[in-house]
């Protein structure tokens, strides 16, 4: 299909490759994660069942993750409310890429510690911990452990 010497099919074909390339770059740079913390937080909490968890503050964030909440742009943390519970939710809006790495590492370490604690006698807990979702998208680090992990994860993705 040539019009005025131009090959429209080839233009469209290479154009689509360019579009895909730009799209991937946008994903890499922003990962779509620039929504306000309040919106993301609200969306996640609207689908998560909070039984088995309680909201935690900066002290607990420091204690269990070894990080200062004030260094981050925003932190939402729910911890298990029972010694035998493992339900947990963490949402952190970070300021920089290096901070994102640090938070993700801390979250992974927290999961590893929990798995180590329950492995061997808490089959159900270990299963939930091994099925935990930990992901960074844009400015956010998200971690969830629990039966409704998928709902929280979907809400997280949709909020961005």
């Amino acid at each position: 299909m040539k019009k005025n010497g131009m090959d429209i099919i080839n233009i469209l074909k290479y154009g689509m490759v360019l579009v895909i390339f730009v799209y991937v770059v946008i994903l890499l740079v922003g990962q779509g994660g620039d929504a306000p913390m309040e919106t993301v937080q609200e969306n996640i909490l609207s689908v998560v069942k909070k039984e088995g968890m309680q909201e935690a503050g900066t002290q607990e964030f420091k204690r269990y993750y070894g990080l200062n909440a004030n260094d981050c742009e925003g932190v939402l943390l729910y911890l298990p409310n029972d010694v035998m519970g493992v339900d947990e939710l963490l949402l952190v809006r970070v300021r920089s890429e290096s901070q994102a790495e640090a938070v993700k590492d801390a979250a992974q370490k927290r999961l590893d510690t929990q798995i180590e604690s329950f492995e061997g006698y808490g089959a159900e807990q270990t299963k939930l911990l091994k099925a935990a979702i930990l992901e960074d998208r844009g400015n956010y680090i998200f971690m969830v452990v629990g039966k409704n992990a998928d709902k929280a994860y979907t809400a997280f993705k949709k909020s961005l």
Binding site: K13, I20, G120, L160
Partner: protein, 470 residues
Amino acid sequence: MLFSSIVFLFTFLPIILILYYLVPRVYKNIVLLVGSLIFYAWGEPVYIFLMIFSILFNYISGLDIARNLKKKEEAKKSLVFNVVVNLLILGFFKYEGFLLGSINAVLPFDIPYRELPLPIGISFYTFQILSYIIDVYREEVEVQTNILDFAVYVTMFPQLIAGPIVQYADIDRQLHVRKETIENFGEGVLFFIRGLSKKVLLANMTGMIFDKVFAMEAGRVSVLSAWFGCAAYTFQIYFDFSGYSDMAIGLGKMFGFEFKRNFFYPYVSKSITEFWRRWHISLGSWFRDYVYIPLGGNRVSKGKHIRNIMVVWMLTGLWHGAAWNFVMWGLYYGILLLIEKYALIKILDKLPSIVSHIYCLVLVMVGWVFFFSPTLGNALDYLKLMIGVGGHGLVDRQGMYILMTNGWMWIILIFGSTPVVHDFYERFIYSNGQSKMKAVINCIVYAILFILCIAYLVTESYNPFLYFRF
């Protein structure tokens, strides 16, 4: 969205079905496309754009290849460009982390990289697209000039996320000429409920046994427990994946499509060669048609044949996951198939069937260890437990407990993975319209299965299909 989720079963599916059957023929594909895009966007809102861009690129590429078919060189260039772009997209999303992680492991410094989450179903729909593009080049199918039909082929929700991989040639005609009948619809419902039951009542339950063993400390696992854990996974992955395929085939039938079967009782095989003719048939066919045969298949020298088999099986392993344990899993099967082809197959034919059957099952179970282990190291550790190294003796209470408390379950799993149950049912209950009484019993059986599944689904936690991660 999962097929085995309440929102799919009671909201999405009924709405799509009602709309599909209400609208005139000319709009049916539009309903399917919009429904499929919503289905995909439900779980992957960001990657829906990747899929749309991919559809547009491949649609245009198909046209480009078709118009150049008389100038074979031009068509070949266009084909190569398309395949490279598609594989780059798949490679970037699926293998970037694996590749750079592996390179970083041997380099004295780290190459920084940012890994994006894997778009769900990308391996399946990329392979479907490639089957279309290559077949257009080979002139085995007509180019699709209707972008709506092409988009439906790529996105069709019944097989979008976890297959079966539908080759374009198999569905080309059905995209614009298909007939929905009440008989097909009914059969589709039965397929769907059967698949749902396999997933919810068998795979999920078996998964619990596997998780229990897998969560145990290595030093507390006896040989017996390790084998039971592996056996549980062996059944779990079969009922999980074949259940999904049954549901996909059933949904296809409800919308007037006929997909080929993806499983044919693989665990009754008597050799690994036979096993791979019965397991994930659509993937095996894809690799045969688009990699193995173009490489020369078995009509080449012995050396080249060995190369062809190993290439195909390394790619099969890599297709399943970006990790060394999957590569090892693929190579393991490549080596086994070569040994059978060049040495064992005649011996296996002469052995009593029970012996060759056990031979096949044991090797398949060992293969699953590479599959379910997070790393190659973990796989080797688990294999050691299965031969009694570093574990808790040969038989222990835990192993006996797993056997005794799930006795009925093992029996159901064993018979359920053979044609026995299906043949019995077909012969004595499924009437196929011959007897009203049998038809009623059939309905009652399936209704009970459906109710049991729903009862389980409303109380259970998230249980995605194992093949979703591919």
